[in-house]
Subunit: 363 residues, 2 copies
């Protein structure tokens, strides 16, 4: 297991530079580090002064680097899909489609990157993985996938299984399935892959909830638009359950006197000339140290309360609904469905208030 570290902030505030410096810092401390960067063409090579490709390669002692290429990741995963088809389907359909033909659709790239991060994490090869993604809501949606896929599965799974539709068609399904599948539907054949998929989602949710496994830092300059973007991403990160460990003020001489980021720790990085890494590395926080950050969500069953940390938003900008079986919180462009624990489950919301960056919902 690794610590996965990522950076959120406005484009141009120096996220990639900070990510490289963070990787160099951890590697110099003797940690085994992977720097994993989303596809940016050849621009990264200029910054890192070596060619980073879609194959993992060592670029310095203790430091590996890879540039994610969605088309290559898709090609590799396609072989797995074809193996599953051959295993389960009596007459394979997609076996003649080649991985190298496949075009990447929006969203596929992020699903593939998240899966690649999961595999690097599970490989045990790295103490830390620095992920330099788009650093905006796209990264948040990507890291929120285990939670959002679980929600789709529990919300729609139950509806479909218990629907009149499935009850009506089930007598027809038995002969159809027997004709189509290599294996019998009622057997244990599907228990293994189904529980494997559920496990992966559960492990992803557990990793996301643990700041020792996955943590984000905000990167900003003292430009007001960069600060506003970082604040917005901080609040939005809470909505997917992502812990934010601190703020890095880049290209800034003095410690800013802003209160926007309370209670986060602020690190100030001086402006440095290109390829002068040491002052930058020295100014970065100690990422391996456990940080005490506000939890995105806390349940207080005794007092019948749910506390959500939503910095940067006010009451007007947050929408609370309880139309389905769960409570939905909308803030910014992120929705969070909350599965209430026993003791609160089934109760209706009786009130909600904002207090010091927290939305407190009473039942």
């Amino acid at each position: 297991m690794s610590l996965i570290l990522t950076f959120l902030g406005k484009g141009g505030s120096g996220r990639t530079t900070i990510a490289i410096a963070a990787a160099k810092k951890l590697a110099s401390q003797g940690k085994r580090v992977l720097l994993a960067v989303q596809d940016t063409g050849f621009a990264l090579d200029l910054l890192i002064e070596t060619s980073v490709t879609h194959e993992v390669q060592q670029i310095a002692p203790n430091l590996d680097a890879v540039q994610f290429k969605a088309s290559v990741l898709l090609e590799r995963n396609w072989d797995e899909v074809k193996k599953l088809e051959a295993q389960y389907l009596r007459t394979p359909v997609i076996k003649d489609v080649y991985g190298q033909e496949l075009v990447v659709l929006p969203g596929m790239d992020k699903a593939l990157e998240l899966n690649a991060l999961r595999e690097f994490d599970a490989s045990g090869k790295y103490d830390a993985i620095i992920y330099d993604g788009s650093g905006d809501t796209t990264t948040l949606r990507m890291l929120g996938m285990p939670e959002s896929l679980s929600w789709y599965s529990r919300r729609f799974g139950k509806l479909i299984t218990e629907s009149d539709l499935v009850k009506t068609v089930s007598p027809f399904l038995q002969p159809l399935i027997a004709t189509v599948l290599n294996v019998s539907w009622t057997g244990d054949n599907f228990a293994a892959p189904t529980s494997q998929a559920t496990n992966i989602l559960e492990q992803g949710k557990a990793a996301l909830a643990d700041p020792k496994r996955l943590i984000a830092y905000l990167v900003t300059t003292d430009n007001p638009i960069a600060i506003a973007t970082a604040t917005y991403l901080w609040g939005s990160a809470q909505q997917v359950g992502l812990n934010v460990g601190g703020v890095i003020f880049n290209q800034t001489a003095d410690t800013p006197t802003t209160e926007e980021f309370d209670p986060l720790t602020i690190s100030t990085i001086p402006t440095t000339p290109l390829s002068s890494w040491q002052p930058l590395i020295d100014a970065l926080p100690d990422f391996m140290q456990t940080v005490d950050v506000p939890k995105p969500i806390e349940f207080d069953v005794v007092n019948r309360q749910v506390k959500l940390f939503l910095p940067g938003f006010d009451k007007k900008q947050v929408k609370l609904t309880q139309s389905g079986p769960e409570v939905t919180i909308e803030a910014g462009d992120q929705r969070r469905n909350i599965l209430l624990p026993p003791g609160l489950s089934g109760r209706t919301v009786s009130g909600a208030k904002f207090q010091q960056g927290y939305l407190i919902i009473s039942f």
Copy 2:
């Protein structure tokens, strides 16, 4: 029909500022303009000095603005999905899922934004739509969706229809479908929605291919990393068939002497203080003027050649395969499958060479 204008370039090079200035310029020329911006929270409000929400509102004479919010777009489209379910399915399943519960998965946001752009374009309300998206490969994948979805449909559609699987199950399908659907499968009920979907994809492809309908400009500063990113996005844009009309060098005093962007026209924008728009507006090119740009792809059946414009790439960085029924070009992280026209269809590639930014494939 509108001219849809978008900007590609590294984050922080001033894409959003240029997009706002372009919108102001066109509106001052008497064009009816919509500025459509991806969700950036409240940072946009600082730049534009008014609050831009997910509802279209007029912010100046001739100038409307909207901030795309994926969760709101998803909620609206969900009602359409439920209507379709009620129309076709005998016992609806998803009717009890509320639009305001739905969580946005990676990729959904871009599909929804593209659909919203399509609807604004079809509304006839605007002469120009300025789309300020992420300006990177995510925007390219989004604009390439009509082409990539068409490819998935033609590649997998044929395979599935002609597969042994479908032949084997078809006797079982008739009673199943009769049980499930409100309408008869063999009737004309599905002809209308199917051809509507095909039409939307074909219209999207036609709009993308026409620089009078959809055009992108590169935005860069004179920073080498910003230039490398812009060059990479230029080449990658050709892969999805997106025409690039010119380069905007932002925050630059002199006209740069770079040859990287030949034969594109370069506009130079001086550094201006925040909210001093006029010098910026004056320095922008005339976006409504038809520009003569290299076509992303040209077929020459007589000489049995296909010419692809791929600036910024060299032969080593481009992969050409002919494993499936089409020819696949991979450059950067974008794949393009080429459906060969009659006269070339069925032939194998006999050679390929790079000449002045063009990949020339012979058959």
